[in-house]
Subunit: 410 residues, 2 copies
């Protein structure tokens, strides 16, 4: 999307082959076989990067094939529902009733829209659709949305959703997407909700079939296993991005956290390594950020006590709320900070923040990424000489206050 | 201002004595002598904290005693010029021509206002006065404003000031504040500028006379020397805040960087130490933040090459500009990041950032405070798993881009 195939070929001298599906990797002969239409080509390689990404995980629900149901796992998956909605709303289209049943259905599609999955994608889709006037019903299997964040952050994001025309159904196991050709309702554990469109964002898994067929080993996470330079068990064959695992900076253990920055960073590192400058791409901290309506939130490190205990820590968690700017400064808000630390050592394991959009929860999280990466204690964090001025924080930034509070509870 | 004397006495059980000037410390007898009006009291102590703060440094200029000249070194110094201005602008006052010469002078005071000093205080005063419709002439002795920041940050802040009714005179040695009773003009190296009010913010120095008289030792910085627990050379006598030095997190050497967070943190640490829980207050990174009109900026660590070389580093500096949000996301701006690193080790020594207000230069600087405090390399920084989402940054946050760029130039 941001660099066209022509730019790749002409400006970067990269022999980009679009619409070529690789169907086989032959590591013994160092070739890949690709199909394009009826043609099949065999390409030799010295080094190979497997960057096959991830694919949407679909829960065992009936009705995915109905018109008006969209899964969200790729760029085109993201565009399709918008084109579907856009078509319905184009005046020109509305005047052309001969454009088929989907379009006729869409003429009246202003919702409600069902969303299955309360993770990043589900919440972001809810925001985008609500901003376009749709009523939303969001179904989440667990007892809170955005479960990667702290319980407190999840609750802070959940609470105002009802004001935004988003009905959240928690502990809701979706059983079927009802209807005939077109989807007409979602039936879940405790609800039967009429809908006119359904978006499904229930996570992704690494796309590894091609690699597995070639004898490339996967790790416990189900993603392709690599060393710190992203080399797989096959010499000169690398894997990076959403198909591969990476080491977690807190535990050192392999983790599967498929996000854009890691993919980008590891792809570049492999390029440098292949070009003769061996480069480690670094680990992952599981950092993520989201804007949702009027709020922004970020999380990093390990917040889940079970994961922390498995890694040998004795986790405790505390949440504080503090002003985002000096009390006398206009237009401030609130920053809520959750920290999870190891009780005995005081080491910062993870953090989760939420504030009004623009009040800095996400950029403030940068400090916590450093803290979890460097393995510092919360006492050390509380002594950080963070920037202070009244338009940006109180004398103690909310992060320092959170560090001080939880350090006092060890 | 934020806690009244009554609250101190009643809610916190602190025997606060306002309007008591301590005139003597007698460490041999563990007493302080204070004067209040005609009364003199002698107070015994077990532990003593010297927190005498800083005092304004006045350059050798004639005319400080003229009406309409204000120095800025304390809370009341900050309030006085506003009352002076406010009085002039009150309709009620304007109808009372019998309120004395200062008030009559002020009836017509809409500027121009002269500001001597282009540091934090000078720039913040310029913003506040310009926002109230005053024309400003700001005189700075050196070749740039905000010299604690990187050259690039200084320039980014300077450039738009002319649109804000602020005329900046660089390389301007102010020689006199002209006039009779009232100040009427500033004469400097190359300029003679008529003004109706002058604010002087040319820095502060530690207020140490009382401590020196008691035999408390100062350090090379001219501030009171202490150990990591803020204890002075006299047992059970502590010093913290703007009167005392602190260790710089990059060099480990004593530094005098009088700012609010350090004072607050060290004061609390001394309290804990005296109360029986020995607590180090931590070092200083020289972190500072400022909002100036439409911009925000922060700096941390060591940017000055001479200081870096004195500490044994081989500094190089690089500045990059990057989008503050994803290119397709509405209303983004630009973040300019300057990094100074040690060429051979790659260690991050300091950073300086500037962006439009709200685009996150200040909160992003939190990442750099950690980097300089932990002594990590710029290569390690470039691998940090910082939060990314389109409303907050590009996939590589500007800090990561800066780290990558300067790491490539070593």
């Amino acid at each position: 999307m941001s660099i066209t195939p022509e730019e790749f070929r002409q400006e970067r001298d990269i022999d980009l082959r679009t619409e070529h599906e690789v169907v086989n990797i032959d590591p013994a002969n160092r070739t890949v076989t690709a199909r394009s239409g009826d043609e099949e080509i065999v390409q030799e390689y010295d080094h190979l990067l497997v960057a096959t990404g991830a694919e949407a995980v679909l829960p065992p629900i009936d009705g995915f094939d109905r018109t008006g149901v969209f899964t969200l796992g790729s760029m085109s998956d993201g565009k399709d529902p918008w084109e579907y909605v856009g078509r319905a709303r184009s005046e020109e289209d509305l005047q052309q009733p001969d454009r088929g049943p989907a379009c006729q259905f869409l003429e009246s599609c202003t919702g409600p829209v069902g969303i299955v999955g309360g993770g990043y994608i589900g919440i972001e889709m809810a925001e985008a659709l609500a901003a376009n006037g749709f009523e939303i019903h969001l179904f989440q299997r667990g007892d809170r949305i955005l479960k990667q964040f702290s319980t407190a952050t999840s609750k802070a994001i959940l609470d105002p959703l009802d004001e935004q025309n988003v009905v959240v159904h928690l502990n809701a196991d979706v059983q079927a997407l009802e209807g005939d050709d077109e989807v007409t309702a979602i039936s879940a554990t405790n609800d039967y909700v009429p809908v006119e469109m359904v978006l499904v964002g229930t996570g992704v898994r690494p796309r590894t079939a091609l690699a597995e067929d070639a004898g490339i080993q996967l790790g416990d996470t189900g993603a392709i296993a690599t060393d710190a330079y992203r080399e797989t068990n096959l010499q000169n064959v690398y894997a990076a991005g959403d198909c591969a695992k990476a080491a977690h900076v807190v535990t050192g253990d392999p983790a599967y956290i498929p996000l854009a920055l890691t993919a980008n960073r590891h792809g570049r590192a492999v390029g440098q390594t292949i070009a003769g400058e061996p480069t480690e791409g670094g680990g992952v901290a599981g950092t993520a950020a989201i804007k949702t309506f009027e709020l922004e939130a970020a999380r990093t490190g390990i917040l889940d006590h079970e994961i922390a205990r498995d890694a040998g820590f004795d986790p405790i968690t505390e949440t504080i709320e503090a002003k985002s700017r000096a009390g006398y400064y206009p237009e401030g808000g609130t920053v809520q900070v959750t920290l999870t630390i190891d009780r005995s050592s005081g080491r910062v394991l993870g953090g989760s923040l939420v504030s009004e959009y623009g009040e800095g929860a996400v950029h403030r999280s940068h400090a916590l990424v450093g803290a979890v990466t460097e393995g510092i204690t919360v006492g050390e964090l509380s002594n950080y000489d963070l920037a202070y001025a009244p338009p940006f924080n109180t004398t103690w930034d909310p992060i320092l206050t959170a560090a001080k509070v939880i350090d006092g509870q060890r």
